[in-house]
């Protein structure tokens, strides 16, 4: 039963037009650096992370998820004052994990997407915290309330954002 479910999910492989695969991350990155200038609270959101999670769980390929996460994370790093590679490493792992999980569970359900995004949002913050504090020796602090707000914001926005991205995919 489980095997049949897995096979059927693999058979329902989703593909995207190459233009979509390029433009969606680009626009997510551009809006991520511009929107907080207008709405400072938007810093809580991590649109590139949502893109990584979405493409990873929909493409269902750990390699694709890893590489997508790496590229998006590195571009994000280039816009910060931090060393390049912090977000790259974190999002590589997130992409790999999301793709691995996407094969095993139903990722079309909104509740599942909401919970997945919430978990990956915290995981992403935790990875960045560990990399910066343990590997780089930065004086970082873990703020539970802040991370909880970020988790809720990302999870809620992800439901609508993923619904929008669903319109851009094509089933094989």
């Amino acid at each position: 039963m489980v095997m049949r479910s897995l096979i059927s999910r693999r058979e329902q492989e989703t593909t995207f037009h190459p233009v979509v695969l390029v433009l969606v991350p680009v626009f997510a990155l551009l809006f991520q650096v511009y929107l907080p200038h207008i709405f400072p609270r938007m810093e809580l959101l991590d649109l590139p992370l949502l893109v990584v999670i979405y493409f990873a769980i929909m493409l269902r390929g750990p390699v694709e998820g890893t590489l997508t996460g790496m590229v998006i994370g590195l571009v994000q790093d280039a816009q910060t004052s931090h060393p390049i590679g912090v977000n790259g490493m974190a999002k590589s792992i997130i992409g790999y994990a999301a793709a691995s999980i996407g094969v095993r569970i139903d990722v079309e359900n909104s509740i599942t997407r909401l919970l997945l995004t919430a978990v990956f949002s915290v995981a992403n913050s935790l990875l960045i915290y560990l990399i910066e504090r343990r590997l780089l020796g930065f004086d970082m602090q873990w703020l539970w309330l802040h991370e909880a707000a970020r988790m809720v914001a990302n999870a809620v926005v992800a439901v609508g954002f993923f619904w929008f991205l669903d319109r851009l995919r094509r089933r094989r």
Binding site: L29, L30, Q32, V33, Y34, P36, H37, I38, P40, E43, L44, D46, P48, P62, V63, T66, L67, M70, L74, V75, Q76, A78, Q79, T80, S81, H82, P83, I84, G85, V86, N87, G88, M89, S92, I93, Y96, S100, I128, I131, E132, L135, L136, G137, F138, D139, M140, Q141, W142, L143, H146
Partner: protein, 398 residues
């Protein structure tokens, strides 16, 4: 072997990606500076190239969005939403008239203040040249407090230039590109600024915490530090000119990560989350000019004067200034190297200079070891110019 790679392809790709980025990270880490903050400004050539490439892609988009946003807002404000403008205009005209009067008075005070500072030899730095820049974007991350401005090296910007607003400081230029620059805000965790508390004159280092609030750190507990006190730049960091507003003290609490020090949380004077335009200080100058050889002698003379004030027993260097000083022993207005002596005490006690007996007269166990006795006050040096105004000094000498 082939089956091993195909079987663990996913994990191997992940491991390879992580190892490559780990090595890349290791090449970017620098040793902490003397301020205890990791030096993240000096990117390597390759890292800088990557950042430059990203900036080339993103900045035009940000500029376009900013221009569209400003255009829309200006069109709305200037052509559509004009309700109450006539009344506002009249009120502003009255305000301008009032401010012109106030400005005339303040300008006179400012000129007088500058003259006095020059007389006292202050090396106060003044902001000489600034470049107005528009904020066009952010880092997009709340863990990196960085903004992008639309001016770069073509406009004369260089790293480590101070970025301010009329309300207070914003940060410093971190990375400069031809048409844009990255500004590290003062509330970033890797930022640092030398500050001084206005009332207590306590100096400290300002940096951001994880919540994006600026904090003055590495201070020992001091009851004098109270919320509401203004925080100014100290000028010690060679980035921000001295005396610029930083913010107000919001709270004082123990630094949990570095006991027994305290951390002072500061509310920034500039609204860092809603920045539109900023000023980049591209040049400063000294009010008294650069030190010259001639001023070097003045420095020595001033140091001697300071020493004579601190140690009244030191004889004056200038032998031609014998006599009494002003009425209260304060320097006169002649501009000479005047020697300051403490005024005659109204009530002589053990703190009065010369009232304490020599050590060989003291007895161990004596309940009243120091008996105040009236002695002649120390010799007072005077200038001939100030002599007519010094009856008190003469009386004591006689």
């Amino acid at each position: 072997m082939e089956s091993f790679f195909s079987r663990y392809k996913n994990v191997l790709v992940l491991a390879a990606v992580l190892v490559v980025q780990l090595i890349a990270l290791a090449t970017q880490i620098h040793r902490p500076t003397t301020m205890g903050v990791a030096d993240t400004r000096t990117d390597g050539h390759h890292v800088r190239t990557v950042r430059y490439a990203m900036t080339r892609v993103i900045v035009p988009f940000e500029e376009m969005l900013t221009n569209v946003g400003h255009g829309t807002r200006d069109a709305w404000k200037n052509y559509v939403y004009l309700r109450g403008v006539r009344q506002q205009n009249a009120a502003l005209q009255a305000e301008v008239d009032r401010l012109r009067l106030a400005q005339m008075s303040l300008m006179a005070d400012a000129r007088q203040g500058q003259r006095l500072q020059q007389l006292l030899g202050f090396q106060q730095q003044y902001i000489y040249k600034t470049v107005v820049a528009q904020v066009i974007g952010t880092s997009g991350s709340d863990q990196s407090r960085v903004i992008y401005i639309d001016k770069g090296s073509n406009d004369g910007l260089r790293p480590d230039m101070a970025v301010v607003t009329p309300d207070g400081i914003v940060g410093k230029v971190r990375d400069v590109f031809p048409h844009a620059a990255q500004v590290l805000e003062m509330n970033d965790q890797t930022a640092g600024a030398g500050v001084i508390l206005e009332t207590t004159r306590i100096r400290g280092i300002l940096r951001g915490n994880a919540e994006g609030q600026p904090q003055v750190i590495d201070l020992l507990p001091d009851d004098r530090i109270q919320p509401g006190e203004r925080v100014l730049t100290s000028g010690g960091d060679q980035v921000y000119p001295r005396g610029l507003a930083v913010g107000d003290v919001v709270s004082v609490g123990p630094d949990k990560q570095h006991p027994p020090y305290i951390a002072i949380t500061v509310r920034p004077a500039a609204n860092l989350s809603q920045l539109e335009e900023v000023l980049v200080i591209t040049e400063t100058q000294d009010a008294a000019g650069s030190p010259t050889d001639a001023s070097g002698d003045a420095e020595v003379q001033r140091a001697a004067d300071d020493a004579s004030q601190a140690l009244p027993s030191i004889p004056p260097q200038d032998s031609g200034t014998n006599g009494t000083n002003g009425a209260n022993g304060t320097p006169g207005a002649t501009g000479d190297a005047l020697q300051v002596r403490p005024a005659q005490a109204l009530r002589v006690d053990r703190f009065t200079p010369g009232a304490t007996p020599p050590a060989d007269e003291l007895q161990p166990g004596d309940p009243n070891p120091i008996t105040p006795k009236i002695v002649a006050p120390p010799p007072v040096v005077h200038t001939p110019a100030a002599e007519p105004d010094a009856p008190a000094g003469k009386q004591e000498q006689n």
